[in-house]
Amino acid sequence: MKYIDEYKNKEIAQNILWQIRRISKKKINLMEVCGTHTVAIFRNGIRKMLPQNINLISGPGCPVCVTPIQYIDEIIAFSRKDNFIITTFGDMIRVPGSTSTLEKEKANGSDVRIVYSTLDALKIAYDNPAKNIVFMGIGFETTSPTIARAILKAEEEKIKNFSVLSVAKIIPPAMRFLLESGEVNIDGFICPGHVSAIIGSKPYSLIAFQYGVPCVISGFEPLDILQSIYLLIRQIENGRAEVEIQYERVVKPEGNKIAMDKINEVFKVVDSDWRGIGNIPLSGLEIKDKYGKFNARKFAIKKEETKEPKGCLCGEVLRGVITPPECPLFKNICTPEDPKGACMVSTEGTCAAYYKYN
């Protein structure tokens, strides 16, 4: 496949690794913020290829993992109501709420449908005018414009039975939050390429400038990741802290303005709860009152009492404080077949990646 296969070349990988070994002196922690990077790193076996003084820490960039349990309970409560169709990306279907999952509700007869695009969810609304269609609006900046677009289209086409339960989040505040907390020592960030395609490189400059932590915006193929690691090491060893774009074929410094305009038209930035991390100021997206009729929270809904899984250390994992094997539940009572925490259920969750590939 064009623009994928070029970045899987073994000889070039060896060249980059040789250069990494050549210039890398310090013992450093690099955080890959994005879950898709975590999976790519594991699937390609990159961790074990790096010299031992380079430690990769997985970050909070898995939207499924950072969605607090009460919002899972909220969508489950919707699914139990008559006359509601729940539409969701496949990612959410097995995520455990306090006592159930959407998959289990579906087995119990709820109408839960997996969609590939927000516009598919809108089409379900159009085809089922007598039902209320609720879309589970998870995602970061890459996905938020597609949610915004569906809401704008619903407005244009006067589709009244479509609404979104927004749990959308924004990434840079979470990165700053991790640095502020001081819990983990992060020497450099491998920044999410697809989020950055939308937001551009500017939002990271504060991180590089204020905290002195280098940021490299990376693509997702193995050579992209290796090159980004090289660029980070080069900055660290030279005492620089800047924002560099490795994923230049996609990411422009200014991002995608049209997509950003869509986000800003539909959403307002609000404080937001991140599972296992806590409330991060100005890190979430809620639908503006102007589009309130498409906000699923207009419905009065009674959800069950929130029960966090006992002993689950997803929060520590998401903050990069511990690795999954350090959690007492990992592999013992928390497995992909019977996940306790969200980091095990999401394909790109750190625990699932450790379980599946390590």
Binding site: M1, K2, Y3, I4, E6, Y7, N9, E11, I12, N15, I16, W18, Q19, C34, G35, T36, G61, C62, P63, F89, Y116, S117, T118, L119, D120, G139, F140, T142, T143, P145, T146, R149, I171, P192, H194, V195, A197, I198, L223, D224, Q227, E248, R249, V250, V251, K252, N256, I258, A259, K262, E348
Partner: protein, 71 residues
Amino acid sequence: MCLAIPGKVKKIFNDNTAEIEIGGIVKRASLDLIPQVVVGDYVLLHAGFAIEVIDQEKALEISKAWEGNID
């Protein structure tokens, strides 16, 4: 956190959607987030939307830079 995949724009329709070819598969996607696209462009596809155009010159740089093991 976000899967996205490069594909080639084959055909653009009046409703601002396009047929995008990815490794022999054709998928219909919305161009609402990058309306400037023309047929023949490579775009990045995420959840049914094209989200960015791929800069084909920049795409070659990584192999050029590293093939000869030059810093």
